[in-house]
Assembly symmetry: C2
Homo-oligomer: 479 residues x 2
Amino acid sequence: MAEQKKMVEAITSMEEDFAKWYTDVVKKAELIDYSSVKGFMVFRPYGYAIWENIQKDLDARFKELGHENVYMPMLIPESLLQKEKDHVAGFAPEVAWVTHGGGTALSERLCIRPTSETLFCEHYKNVIQSYRDLPKLYNQWCSVVRWEKTTRPFLRNSEFLWQEGHTMHATPEEAKEETLRMLHCYADFYRESLAIPAVLGQKTEKEKFAGAEATYTIEPMMHNGVALQGGTSHYFGDGFTKAFGITFLDRDNQIKNPYQTSWGVSTRMIGAIIMCHGDDSGLVLPPRIAPVQLAILPIAMHKEGVLEKARELYDRLRKEFRVKLDDSDNSPGWKFSEYEMKGVPLRLELGPKDIANHQCVLVRRDNREKIFVPLDNLEQAVREALDSVHEGLCRRAEQNLAEKMHVAHTHEEFLDIAQNQPGFIKGMWCGDSACEDQLKEETGGVKSRCIPFEGDPVGDVCVCCGKPAKHLVVWGRQY
Amino acid sequence: MAEQKKMVEAITSMEEDFAKWYTDVVKKAELIDYSSVKGFMVFRPYGYAIWENIQKDLDARFKELGHENVYMPMLIPESLLQKEKDHVAGFAPEVAWVTHGGGTALSERLCIRPTSETLFCEHYKNVIQSYRDLPKLYNQWCSVVRWEKTTRPFLRNSEFLWQEGHTMHATPEEAKEETLRMLHCYADFYRESLAIPAVLGQKTEKEKFAGAEATYTIEPMMHNGVALQGGTSHYFGDGFTKAFGITFLDRDNQIKNPYQTSWGVSTRMIGAIIMCHGDDSGLVLPPRIAPVQLAILPIAMHKEGVLEKARELYDRLRKEFRVKLDDSDNSPGWKFSEYEMKGVPLRLELGPKDIANHQCVLVRRDNREKIFVPLDNLEQAVREALDSVHEGLCRRAEQNLAEKMHVAHTHEEFLDIAQNQPGFIKGMWCGDSACEDQLKEETGGVKSRCIPFEGDPVGDVCVCCGKPAKHLVVWGRQY
């Protein structure tokens, strides 16, 4: 039984069934386990370690920009959720309600937070009095619950882990600047730490967040041509602060309402990593968030000196890198497959011949390139190889994004691409949400992803109705 | 209005009203805010930063001992909670129930986790097959909900933040060893990082955790003579693993149930810090978990060169310490009070005279000692001063613990001490829980804290019934 477990089973290929490939990877790489409540999953050690590395990296970026962490209650009274009417309309249908506590029925039911705008507003009302109290730049790491009908690990869970920033500012200009600053903070993180490029832009009215004046988004492209909303940043104006009666005395001695933003990314990012970088051998992790950056695999371990040398290298490398030494009695072949499945960016092979030559072999996970490295210079070589893997992943993802960016000039062309070429479609839009509805229905799911910040118009007329166009829109199917 | 806010209001003195002093400190040091749901509180940035430092320190200790972090679902189906009968009897009365999700009534109600033994067992059943899979050493950082009637910030909240370790082992011996290892890990953390000494021991049958075979506890003593359960570690035997059908194939080819532990500490520790170290000027924070270890306060800021020098020192010190430079236009007197209220371990005063003498003044929060320090040697001096504050806090807390440790040889003596001398009472016990009940009732709340690991018997007969004694017990009132 124990021995049986030690075989790395093959996974479904991406070509054959992308959805099945995805769930195979998620399970075989030991990222998650299912629980008995649908949509609520167990983050296993390897999956959670990815999230810990993401958290650490993002948290440092937020703090560098002046943000402070707080923790708000998990439960929101129904009356509080209802204070901002667009917001409650958006979220009430998908929340979980607590109706009993301590053995008795509650006088008012409480929902588990689906997001915490209302809780932050309730608190901000208590702590903001003067312009001296602004800006308030708060962030929270927590789990939230949104009752989903169809669930999929990382991509759509009823409970997920995330961060939600909620900030208050004296002027609309400052708040808008913060909204965009945080969107770019996400984009930088995606590229610099996850090796994932993305399209940045503004959501249309129809697609914006419940209660926001404007929603900005970062949209990476998956391997199969489906987009994923990678992170959003919202500008609220003073809608919530008026509804909650949050005021401050400004420099000019006037009482005013502050202006608000919120922004969030979640464990869905792990889904993006899997679908952006993974291959038929399993997960491929970007080195900067990989729980194990380098696996040391001694070859012919029984030969004199091999294990000693492997341990010596382990002790050297762990000072700078996240390293695992696998000196188990599993075969080298098993180990190669196992660390490929787990997406470890580099493996280090070391056998008696290597030791005699005072060298070792580094093998890159992304392209399987072998690099022979003198042991003297090992740290430097590992550093460079990890950077190369990162760059390699970036380049491949950029190429995928470029290849899957199509242009439609006419309605016919749009429908043809939507049916035959997976990916984004650039197409002009008149600004009417009726056209968004029509295109979504005609294509069975292609929606406006965003009005991109970059990119020239590709025509003059709406790709749906033919009327004069107002915006270039990037369209696509989404997770 | 803005200016009014900038006064540090006096707080109630400890002597006058300890409970009021406590809530004053919690609010004036800006640790928490109340929310509209009773027992659910907002951790403000300063309060949450203490928790972040605690987390970082403990998490490193856990990982050093081989533990891995995971994340389990927030919700537990009623049927799952019921699988271990002592456990459900202990927790069912105090949980919050979710009955509706996504607009419809659920077929089975779900409780928000009050603790996660059942969830870990459900998962362990899926991932433990062989002795090779053991031990499993998992830990989780999360929030839990226990519906409390009387709530008090940090000490008794309906929602609190904590960590819960849950481990599985092949033998009872290994599991028992882990139970005690983690209790000692907590005790080391309390002393080395929180500067809080404590009594360690085993809970009596009556006081142990619902479903555990044995519960161990660490019990620090507060300033007012009331004890606090600072952390617990439980040995479960194979009770849960049998109830959940968790088995493994052992080396001897036999199918067996593994042995289990769990252990946890929570944000209640922040309550312990406040009540163990605080004084009539506010919070006193142990340097190793203080969000700000050192506040730089320039004196006569308008004088040439003062602010520049202060900034220069700030840039030097922030490389090694958590430093805040307060160059606001508030008066030095206001600043002194503010950083005392917030419990910042050291303040650094720097005025024109100091600069002329190429020195500055360090003032310790714990005893207000002033130390004149040459600027050349500043880092070393700060390092030493922070260590001195830590040692000073330890010594004071040890003295408090020793002074409040009383001994009762007779029933009469016990009742007299319980009424007149706040603190712990050492007294012999026959082992019958009826005596625990009687003493608690007679004294209005003095309970057995633990059977301590250290300490010689103080007599032969039970301090309640006079029958032959089995154990030395440390008794006391608790938060």
